[in-house]
């Protein structure tokens, strides 16, 4: 007998999504489908026919959880679309900002999963630790990029300003002082995950998938993207269940025709020799990656020459070529692409981390009891509000508008 377990909405994540699991008599998931039910974001359409500088300002509003990767991906895409080579100091400032932000975002996730893993007697300690780390790394983002959330000073052509020598010294000092706390935090989280996973009987291979990995850089990003390997399908074509296909609000991005896994574990496997797979491995990888980002942040801070210019002069008319800003955000690869002609944005598209993971997350629940489903989902730290591409038009039958309208 086939039964259906539906979790709607899935919790302790950003945005709204549904997890539909078909289960057998023992409650084992035979088919998992995870899909976004968050309304359309539409920002890619809003920036069209506007000045190129508009894109990072608007597109960072895609989400308030990881606004830094969106700003950077947008700025990098526009930089390339305008043919700008940003100064070295600007690149270092951007790298330090992203690394600090990624630590912050991992810490937020630890807060979200704390009710799963952290025992009551350690709960306050864990929350304090999360707060302490966030306070310090967000300070770095604040100082360099203007604001910890929706940064004002990451600009097309580089950064609004360089930091002063005083600030450089202060940031290095503050980050250096954070190291022992960060190491203790990572240790705490990893221990809690390991111990409670055992107590809860979470299977070692829960959530193991063998999808290709999507990761372009250990800590920052690149300006290239293989468009030939990339394709998108609408949810109706992807999900076997027509009901799910109709209601799913995100397109399914594929590389070489297949869905991928992106995020900290993918990066750690691709660039740092991390081997393990599955739910527990994802938590461990995310925690371990904090230290990689910490090193990247300090390294970039150390290399910044405060006397150098952090912003390039540029011609805003545009090259007419597609520019790519492919940034490794906390939840994976964030791909923004833009085309600028005659000083106006002619094309804009963003394929954000959770969009890549959505088709991978559902099947990752398969083969285990449905009670573990939420654990599988949370291990990906999904962030739905930025991942949503299509809109529901008819509230009655939940059907979407014509296909050509939904590719935004």
């Amino acid at each position: 007998m086939k039964d259906r377990v539906v979790i709607s909405p899935t919790t302790r994540q950003e945005g709204h999504a549904e997890l539909v699991m078909e289960v057998d008599d023992e409650g084992i998931v035979t088919k998992g489908m995870y899909f976004s039910i968050t309304p359309v974001r539409g920002l890619e359409k809003m920036v069209l026919s506007k000045a190129p500088e508009t894109a990072p300002v608007l597109c960072q509003r895609i989400c308030g959880v990881c606004p830094i990767p969106h700003t950077l991906a947008s700025a990098e895409a526009i930089d390339q679309a305008l043919g700008i080579e940003i100064p070295k100091a600007a690149r270092l400032l951007r790298e330090a900002t992203l690394a600090a932000h990624n630590i912050n975002s991992a810490a937020i996730h630890h807060f979200l999963v704390a009710p799963d893993f952290v025992p009551e007697e350690l709960f306050a300690t864990a929350v304090d630790s999360v707060s302490n780390i966030r306070k310090n790394v967000q300070y770095v983002v604040d100082m360099i990029a203007g604001e910890g959330i929706h940064p004002s000073d990451i600009r097309v052509g580089g950064m609004a300003r360089n930091i002063t020598p005083f600030t450089k010294e202060r940031l290095i000092e503050r980050m250096t002082a954070l190291k022992s706390d960060l190491e203790a935090h990572i240790e705490l989280i990893k221990n809690c995950v390991a111990e409670s996973a055992e107590k809860m009987g979470i299977p070692k291979d829960l959530g193991v998938v063998n999808q290709p990995l999507l990761a372009v850089h250990p800590t920052y990003g690149v300006n290239e993207f293989d468009m030939d390997a990339f394709s998108e399908v609408l949810p109706e074509a992807w999900y076997d269940d027509p009901e799910v296909g109709k209601r799913g609000c995100s397109v399914i991005p594929l590389i070489n025709g297949t869905n991928v896994e992106t995020g900290p574990r993918a990066r750690m496997e691709k660039f740092q020799g991390f081997k393990d797979k599955g739910v527990i491995a994802q938590h461990v990888a995310r925690a371990d990656e904090m230290l990689k980002n910490y090193d990247a942040c300090l390294e970039a801070l150390d290399a910044i020459d405060p006397a150098a210019s952090a912003r390039a002069d540029y011609d805003p008319r545009g090259t007419g070529e597609l520019g790519f800003g492919i940034i490794e955000g906390p939840r994976g690869t964030n791909a923004h692409m833009a085309k600028v002609e005659d000083g106006k944005i002619k094309f804009y598209s963003a394929i954000v981390p959770t969009t890549w993971n959505i088709p991978t997350m559902g099947p990752a629940t398969e083969g285990f009891h449905h009670e573990f489903g939420p654990h599988v989902i949370r291990a990906y730290d999904p962030c739905l509000s930025c991942a949503t591409h299509v809109m529901v038009v008819d509230d009655e039958d939940k059907s979407i508008l014509k296909n050509e309208m939904v590719r935004i």
Partner: protein
């Protein structure tokens, strides 16, 4: 109370000749900033500088006594000083900031502090020095005073600019040329005509020349912080003071001008209200 709430009124002057050489009057703003910087009360300050010596004020972040002194002196055109606060509290990395502000800017800052809109910016302000201000002129007005009214070839020929004794003064080749204040009416920015604050009533410390003899400034200490920083600078020997009762023209002139501004602009506010024009709230 035309002068707002204050703890003490004193006539004062910096004791540092380096400051007095460049200051408009008693060098109180510079002396206080230098003292606060030295003592670590502030790590830097946002001020109106004139880096290009064309009299155009540019909001500037200063972090040393030398930079304070380089930015000394009154500017008679609008400086969007508060616009540099973000830079000061971000890329400059300042956690404790001083601000030199006109009364309108002081009001804006206090409002910003009262509302939670300016995260990690206004909460870093540790010293707010207000300067007396009757009105302020756009750069085009200053150009007009220099060229059309005083016969200069250009405003940049002026080596000193001052307002005092009922006149707007420009100095060229050591010679002072004065323009009666009433000649400047109509050239001020329109908003100044509905401002009710002459003496920066919401600052930590307010200062300006009016009420004290030449080369001295009249200081009103207003908040606990402002009062203690000013007194500490006096105790440290950086500022010398005289009681207001001992100096001419003294506090009555300051009160007269402050009240005059309120009366005149109060009427203008009524006029504008009758016309249905919007008015900013006064506190």
């Amino acid at each position: 109370m035309p002068l707002g709430t204050y703890k003490e009124a004193l006539s004062a002057r910096s004791t540092d000749s380096k400051i007095l050489d460049v200051s408009q009057d008693g060098g109180i703003v510079s002396a206080l900033l230098c003292y606060a910087l030295d003592e670590g009360i502030i790590e830097g300050a946002v001020v109106a500088g004139t880096p290009d010596e064309d009299w155009r004020p540019i909001p500037t972040v200063v972090t040393s006594a030398d930079e304070v002194i380089a930015a000394a002196g009154t500017k008679y055109s609008m400086s969007p000083t508060l616009s540099a606060l973000k830079e000061a509290t971000r890329q400059y990395g300042l956690e404790k900031v001083g601000v030199v502000a006109t009364p309108c800017q002081t009001q804006g800052l206090r409002k910003a502090q009262a509302y939670p809109f300016t995260r990690f910016v206004v909460d870093k302000i540790k010293l707010l020095i207000g300067i007396y201000c009757m009105e302020n002129f756009p750069m085009a007005s200053l150009d007009t005073f220099a060229t059309a009214k005083l016969g200069f070839d250009s405003l940049t020929d002026a080596t000193k600019m001052d307002i005092g004794k009922g006149k707007f003064w420009l100095t060229k080749d050591g010679e002072d040329s004065g323009l009666a204040i009433k000649e400047t009416h109509g050239y001020e920015q329109a908003g100044c005509n509905i401002c009710m604050d002459y003496v920066a009533e919401w600052a930590d410390v307010s200062t300006g020349s009016v009420g004290s003899p030449d080369g001295w400034s009249t200081v009103l200490t207003r908040t606990d912080d402002g009062d203690s920083i000013f007194k500490a600078a006096v105790d440290a020997g950086l500022i010398e003071t005289k009681p207001m009762d001992d100096v001419k023209p003294g506090l009555p002139l300051l009160e007269k001008l402050a009240k005059g501004k309120k009366d005149k602009n109060g009427k203008e506010r009524e006029n504008r209200a009758k016309l249905g024009l919007p008015l900013p709230v006064e506190y």
